[in-house]
């Protein structure tokens, strides 16, 4: 076991017996030094196609922010308040932009074959995010507390029951769908997004195909 000095007078263990040290070393080792928030990128990153990933992140931030404001007023707030209707519209349209940016990001990465160079997990976490985002928006449409959500629920129940998940994921239960929408699925989306971004920073942006040949 070795020791290292951090702040003056402070001893910091770098051995493996201390779980705090191991956790810190693991976090520090996730991304190469200087790559967590780099201010320089390879020259091939100077293309608009590389912007859509961060645009998706920006839209996600607005989705979560507007969702938090909606949570204050409750799921029926937007029916009775002009401010609530505005925030609901911000929530809806930021989701629309999120999916638009995410799909263009997906197209770009697909045609770049962005899973090359040990980036398969980056690609797969992106695929998982896409699928979970669809489920999250689905539960959002089910939480509108209007005839639209009733229609979507009644249309979706047979398909979900046919695959055997209706007992745990009941689209005719608006309370359950609201909880999935504002707690469980956003938690998964945020965690997988963090993993996805860490993997991007860990392995770097995928180079163009001809740059590798």
């Amino acid at each position: 076991m070795t020791t290292a000095t951090g702040r003056p007078g402070q001893k910091t263990e770098t051995g493996s017996s201390n779980w705090t040290t191991r956790l810190r070393n693991w976090i520090v080792g996730l991304v190469p030094p200087g790559e967590a928030l780099p201010d320089r990128q390879p020259i091939y990153v100077a293309s608009w196609i590389y912007v859509f990933g961060v645009l998706t992140l920006a839209a996600l931030a607005i989705v979560i922010g507007s969702g938090c404001v909606l949570a204050i007023g409750g799921s029926a707030w937007w029916h009775t308040s002009s401010l609530g209707r505005y925030v609901n519209s911000v929530h809806l349209w930021s989701v629309e932009l999120l999916f638009g940016f995410m799909v263009i990001h997906l197209w770009g990465k697909f045609w770049m074959a962005a899973w090359r160079g040990g980036r398969s997990m980056t690609w797969m976490t992106g695929v998982v995010l896409f699928v979970i985002s669809i489920g999250t928006s689905f539960t959002g449409f089910l939480s509108q507390s209007n005839f639209d959500s009733q229609w979507i629920g009644s249309q979706g129940k047979d398909g979900l029951n046919s695959v055997g998940v209706g007992a745990w994921f009941n689209v005719l239960n608006p309370g359950q769908m609201l909880m999935w929408h504002i707690v469980l699925l956003p938690l998964v989306v945020v965690v997988v997004t963090v993993v996805h971004v860490v993997l991007v920073r860990r392995h770097g942006v995928v180079p163009p195909i001809d740059a590798e040949m």
């Binding site: 390879p42 608009w48 196609i49 263009i104 770009g108 770097g204």
Partner: protein, 58 residues
């Protein structure tokens, strides 16, 4: 039948091509996304740092 036609009008205009049926709104959104994708590939990205600071290769 008139009730059905009113409901169809409320749902927007649709384009049918064989087994494919899509609303004009959705088709427009897809077309705009494809256009954005193509523009992102061809429009030069402003670097803003001058030609001597073009980043580094990993």
């Amino acid at each position: 039948m008139s009730g059905l036609s009113i409901a169809a009008e409320g749902a927007g205009r649709y384009i049918s091509w064989g087994v494919i049926q899509i609303s004009v709104a959705n088709l427009t959104i897809i077309a705009v996304m494809v256009l954005l994708f193509l523009l992102a590939l061809v429009i030069p990205f402003p670097t803003g740092h001058g030609s001597d600071d073009g980043g580094h290769d990993r």
